[in-house]
């Protein structure tokens, strides 16, 4: 393995136990340049969930960014299934770019088939950049 990015989450034992793995980042429209993410994106915490296949965004974020759904997709939960909206978004996760030693670099992923109603999604197409 060659480490490209390192995400470091420092919290407390109690918070980690109660909430799981929460790391900082932004969600923005896919056309937002990286240097404008902080101004134009929505900042918050991502829940890193190995029980989830794909990426979900909160519906309130989609509304705040004025995004329109680009499709719908059947999603499955525990004994549940429903059809949910997809959105194309850019997700930026705060991280260190290890090869250059750049701290707080953030790396982004443009999600083509994400969705906005707190459900699972199929694996999206996308890319990362340092």
């Amino acid at each position: 393995m060659t480490t490209e990015f390192r995400i470091t989450i420092k919290t407390t034992r109690d918070l980690l136990k109660k909430f799981g793995v929460l790391g900082g980042g932004w969600i923005a429209s896919p056309s937002t340049p990286m240097n404008e993410i902080a101004q134009k994106g929505v900042k918050g915490l991502f829940f890193f969930d190995d029980g989830a296949l794909g990426t979900s965004i909160d519906a309130s974020v989609a509304a705040e960014l004025g995004l329109k759904p680009d499709g719908r997709h059947e999603v499955q939960g525990f004994n549940t299934a429903s059809n949910e909206d997809h959105y194309t978004v850019k997700i930026v996760v705060a991280a260190e770019h290890v090869p250059t030693g750049t701290k707080n670099a953030g790396f982004s992923r443009e999600i083509k088939r994400s969705h906005g109603h707190q459900k699972h999604a199929r694996p999206p197409h996308g890319y990362f950049q340092g």
């Binding site: 918070l15 909430f19 900042k43 991502f46 991280a95 290890v98």
Partner: protein
């Protein structure tokens, strides 16, 4: 299930929870969960750039 999860986060989490990142990212990573010290480190492999 995630609806309930997000509802809990909205009420109690230390900040605004805006999304969930699942295995489609974690499949490229090595995650070290240090529960005693409250620290988690996720190292992402360079192969993610080739996707």
């Amino acid at each position: 299930m995630h609806d309930r999860l997000m509802a809990i986060f909205k009420d109690e989490a230390p900040g605004r929870v805006i999304g969930i990142i699942g295995r489609e990212l974690l499949e490229y990573g090595t995650m070290v969960y240090d529960g005693i010290n409250g620290t988690v480190t996720i190292e992402i492999d360079s192969s993610i750039l080739q996707r």
